[in-house]
Amino acid sequence: MSDNTVYFASATGAEIECDKRQAYRFMGCRDDGNAGLDALYRECEELVKKEASFKAVWRKSSVLIEGDTVTFDFGKITSAALCKNLEGCTSAYVFAATAGMGVDRLLLRYDKLDSVKAMVISAVGSSAAECWCDIVNGKIADGKKTKPRFSPGYGGVDLRHQREIFDFLEAEKRLGITLTDSYFMVPVKSVTAFIGVVEE
């Protein structure tokens, strides 16, 4: 019998460690000891940690690969890159994770008031979301061997599939994440991905 459960995890901003080097990379620079930027980074990190609210859901799906197409429980996706990623798997976890709407609120505010701060907040938010995904990834794998996670929008996976993934996970109801007409996620610091399970 298949496991229909949609699993859930959450964390507060204080529980997540941001990766400063990664955040700097997102800003297009490296940490060369600029004290002004360092102070700004720390201020923004504190803001993000205060406002972020991390949540994630995941659910197992069967996987069947034929040619360039993967058949999941919720539908088919055509992408050579995804097929290569899931090669040899008969199941995968589908997950959605978010850093919450607080970061969007910060971005909305500082886009108007202080664009440098908005950029740093955006970088910190992306980095925080990535760190949260790593944690969720660990919970999902739970000692099992898994493939590296793979997100729609990359490797030719059409963003339209976000709709099916959202329905499969009930992401709107469980996480409050929504899609725009162009299939982008709101809150913006959100991630969906597949994690292939490697058969022992």
């Binding site: 700004l40 429980d73 919720f74 886009d111 440098v116 162009s182």
Partner: protein, 794 residues
């Protein structure tokens, strides 16, 4: 038969989860549960029946996502769903009329603007259509549930009420911090929903019953409406390959009994709960005595995050967003410069006001639109409740509709016409109303006369169903220079009206000193005297140090400031500002403005520019200091010795220096290099790069019309037409969206020939730019500025 009568007499039980039960009966992944209303009516009716047998007396239709946005056949699905629920009730009890069908409305699945892309009125319309079908098919009530966002909740309530006359229950989703996903706390939601006139309020989903207790305590304390609670069965986890929820039936129902003890009258379950959870809950709460919800008397206004109570500590309402006597503000309004208004708001927030007055009326502008635009812009930047201030009822109505929260309304007065226009708006949209003691005969000279007008307004409000707790009387301070009794009578009125009517009071403090020198002194003494007579809030200027001194001193002297810590903070802030100014002026002559800009030091750049402008021509400051400094940083960026954040920090510092220049030159703004429209193309939401280009272009003297991200080709064309811009900058960062860039360039070529296009972004190459017919390709932000400057000269 009417459920509203049951609400005051007995405890009601909703049903529990539907999703898990449907999956157990074979609902496939990705299949829409709502479709089963038509394809598997017997199964749906069976599940309803199970809940009725377990003791539920309100069952929820299987229509969580049955709206016109998600399902084309929503009308058929709604009709079938309500029929299934009614069939279950008929099978269970015949026609005794003690069980009810709640039409279920979940969120649209889209986030509303400005966080997302669904317009407020579009959302209202979606809910209105569903609600209309619900009443047509004879549901007994509407339950709006699992709402993560306060603004969407408001849209749903307006839709439910405009599309039907059914009772409306509203249930939101709170997280562990006691907040909705978009930020509102319990008090903010209660304030807004009571104002909108719903019938019950509460929470569901997300948390187990135990984690909900703190939020429930707030609801019971502050809500005058019956409270409903439907928790999850905790969280699912896998145990030996089987799914279990971490709160079982026993634990769940034990906590539900505790919740009933707290005074919650409507109980149910959400994800993971089954008929067994409800049966146990009904059993264990049977012995708990039902208590009718008591009316509360808190005066709350709210924003999208929090409520502000009026009637406890003194509340400051910032008066600076108002064009009266401010030529620069008037200019900003005529230009449609919303940023100016937002900045006035932010400055007052930093000074410590609790509420912002928003008056943007000028005879020559479209005030309806300006007030709505201002409210939207302010609410995307700051979280203070707003006081909507207009003499035009139409402007007030439009703004009250889309305001995210429960606003203060300024104002109504004792004239019949004013009450006829304003009171119905407050009744429909909710709000706390400022009532001015003036009527057809003017402002009475005595406190008793003003009391009489106030009494009349309160009576008319109560006739309409507007509670007296939502009325704040302003007995109108008039200039003491023209009437020596004015101060005395106003102070008497504050005390008398409060005592006799039990309403809150407010004053526009500054009027009192009209015509006198050193007005701040008079204002602040008058303010302190009024506070002592019981004034609850004041519309005032927070930039006035004496006013803030009066406020902080009053709090300290009245035992409202433990250890005088806030007074001390305020006093030391004042000293710091004074010292900073001195220091900045001292060093201004020594260091160069160029240095401050290159190092990205904002305030020093401003102060240095200001000092320099005392002796130097503004254009010389721009051309000999600011531009060369920017160029120096720009060159460093190209050579990769300066990184993007530093470049931006310098740009911001330059922008502050420009502020000083602008202030000096007054309305004669620097010579513009022309207009340029900027956009990240349709389908792309990466806008960091575009924003950098924008900041730099503005610094180099361009008028930038920024359309934001995910912009359709038609919108770009429209902006070109309405602004007359001759250059368009487009950005795209994803391989999937360069196509949209091509479409935009082609549309512009066809419909606006002669307009030049400047394109850039991570995935673009000079070759591709040429292929899609763009005028030129910018490899980075500095390059874009260089190219734009060249294009503008052609």
């Amino acid at each position: 038969m009417d459920i509203k009568r049951f609400l005051t007499r007995t405890r009601l039980y909703f049903d529990g989860g539907m999703g898990t039960l449907l999956q157990a009966k074979g609902l496939k992944a990705g299949e829409k549960p709502e479709e089963w209303n038509i394809t598997h009516p017997d199964i749906i009716t069976d599940i309803h029946l199970e809940y009725l047998k377990a003791g539920s007396n309100i069952i929820t239709t299987n229509t969580f996502g049955a709206n016109c946005l998600k399902l084309d056949n929503y009308k058929e699905l709604i009709a079938a769903a309500i029929k299934n629920a009614k069939d279950a009730i008929r099978l269970f009890e015949g026609d005794r009329g003690k069980c009810f069908v709640a039409f279920d409305m979940g969120p649209t699945g889209k986030m509303l603007e400005p966080l997302g892309d669904l317009g407020f009125e579009d959302a209202v319309e979606i809910f209105r259509k569903s609600a209309f079908e619900a009443e047509k098919n004879k549901a007994d009530l509407i339950i709006i549930e699992t709402m993560n966002d306060s603004l969407e909740t408001k849209a749903a309530v307006l839709g439910a009420k405009e599309g039907s006359s059914l009772p409306v229950f509203v249930s939101n989703v709170f997280d562990e911090k006691g907040k909705l996903m978009t930020g509102a706390d319990a008090k903010a939601m209660i304030a807004m929903l009571e104002g909108l006139g719903v019938d019950a309020v509460g929470m569901n989903c997300s948390l187990g019953p135990k984690q909900m207790l703190p939020v429930i305590a707030d609801y019971v304390k502050y809500s005058s409406l019956p409270v409903m609670v439907s928790p999850n069965a905790g969280l699912p986890r896998s145990e030996n390959g089987k799914t279990v929820f971490d709160v079982n039936e026993e634990e769940f129902s034990d906590v539900m009994a505790e919740i009933a003890q707290m005074g919650v009258g409507i109980l149910g379950g959400c994800c993971g709960t089954t008929p067994e959870y409800i049966r146990k809950t009904v059993e264990k709460t049977g012995a708990v005595t039902f208590r009718k919800t008591e009316k509360k008397n808190y005066t709350f206004v709210s924003s999208y995050t929090h409520a502000v109570e009026i009637g406890g500590e003194p509340i400051l309402i910032g008066e600076r967003i108002n064009p009266t006597g401010k030529p620069k503000f008037k200019d900003a309004l005529r230009r449609g410069d919303i940023d100016y208004i937002v900045n006035e708001g932010v400055k007052q927030q930093e000074k410590g006001v609790h509420i912002l007055d928003v008056n943007v009326g000028l005879p020559e502008i479209d005030e309806d639109k300006m007030l709505c635009d201002s409210v939207k812009a302010l609410q995307s930047v700051l979280d203070l409740p707003l006081q909507l201030d207009s003499v035009r009822a139409s402007s007030l109505e439009k703004a009250m509709r889309l305001y995210n929260g429960k606003p203060l309304i300024n104002s109504v007065n004792g004239k019949k016409e004013s009450m006829r226009e304003i009171l119905p708006l407050v009744k429909k949209y909710g709000g706390v109303l400022i009532a001015l003691t003036i009527d057809e005969n003017g402002i009475p000279e005595t406190a008793e006369g003003r009391l009489a007008i106030a009494r009349n307004i309160v009576r008319e409000c109560e006739k309409m169903g507007i509670d007296r707790k939502d009325i704040i009387v302003d007995p109108l301070a008039m200039a003491v220079s023209s009437d020596k009794e004015s101060g005395k009578v106003t102070l008497e009125s504050v005390e008398l009206i409060k005592k006799e009517l039990g309403v809150k009071t407010s004053l526009g403090v500054s009027n009192i000193s009209f015509g006198l020198p050193q007005r701040d002194t008079v204002n602040s003494f008058f303010f302190a005297l009024a506070l002592e007579r019981g004034l609850d809030c004041a519309i005032m200027n927070p930039n006035s140090v004496s006013m803030m001194q009066a406020y902080h001193s009053f709090r300290a002297l009245k035992g409202l400031d433990e250890g005088c810590t806030e007074y001390i903070d305020f006093a030391s802030q004042n000293e710091i500002t004074a010292v900073k100014k001195e220091a900045a002026t001292e060093t201004a002559g020594m260091d160069d403005l160029v240095y401050a800009i290159v190092k990205g030091m904002r305030e020093p750049a401003y102060e240095k520019a200001k000092a320099l402008l005392e002796t130097t021509d503004p254009m010389a400051v721009i051309n000999e200091k600011i531009i060369p400094a920017l160029d120096e940083v720009g060159k460093g960026f190209e050579k990769k010795t300066v990184y993007l954040p530093q470049l931006l920090m310098s740009a911001e510092a330059a922008s502050r220096a420009f502020d000083a220049v602008k202030a000096k030159m007054g309305d004669k703004r620097g010579e513009s290099k022309g207009k340029i429209v900027l956009a990240t193309v349709k389908g792309d939401i990466h806008d960091i790069g575009k924003n950098i280009v924008k900041v730099l272009l503005e610094n180099y003297g361009f008028d930038v019309i920024d359309l934001g991200k995910d912009v359709a080709p038609e919108a770009v064309l429209e902006a070109v037409r309405s602004s007359g811009a001759r250059i368009v900058g487009l950005s795209a960062l994803m391989t999937t969206t360069v196509e949209a860039m091509k479409d935009t360039v082609e549309l512009l070529k066809k419909e606006a020939p002669g307009v030049k296009t400047l394109v850039g972004g991570a995935v673009l190459t000079p070759e591709y730019a040429e292929m899609i017919g763009a005028t030129c390709y910018g490899k980075d932000a500095m390059d874009a500025v260089r190219l734009a400057t060249e294009l503008s000269k052609k």
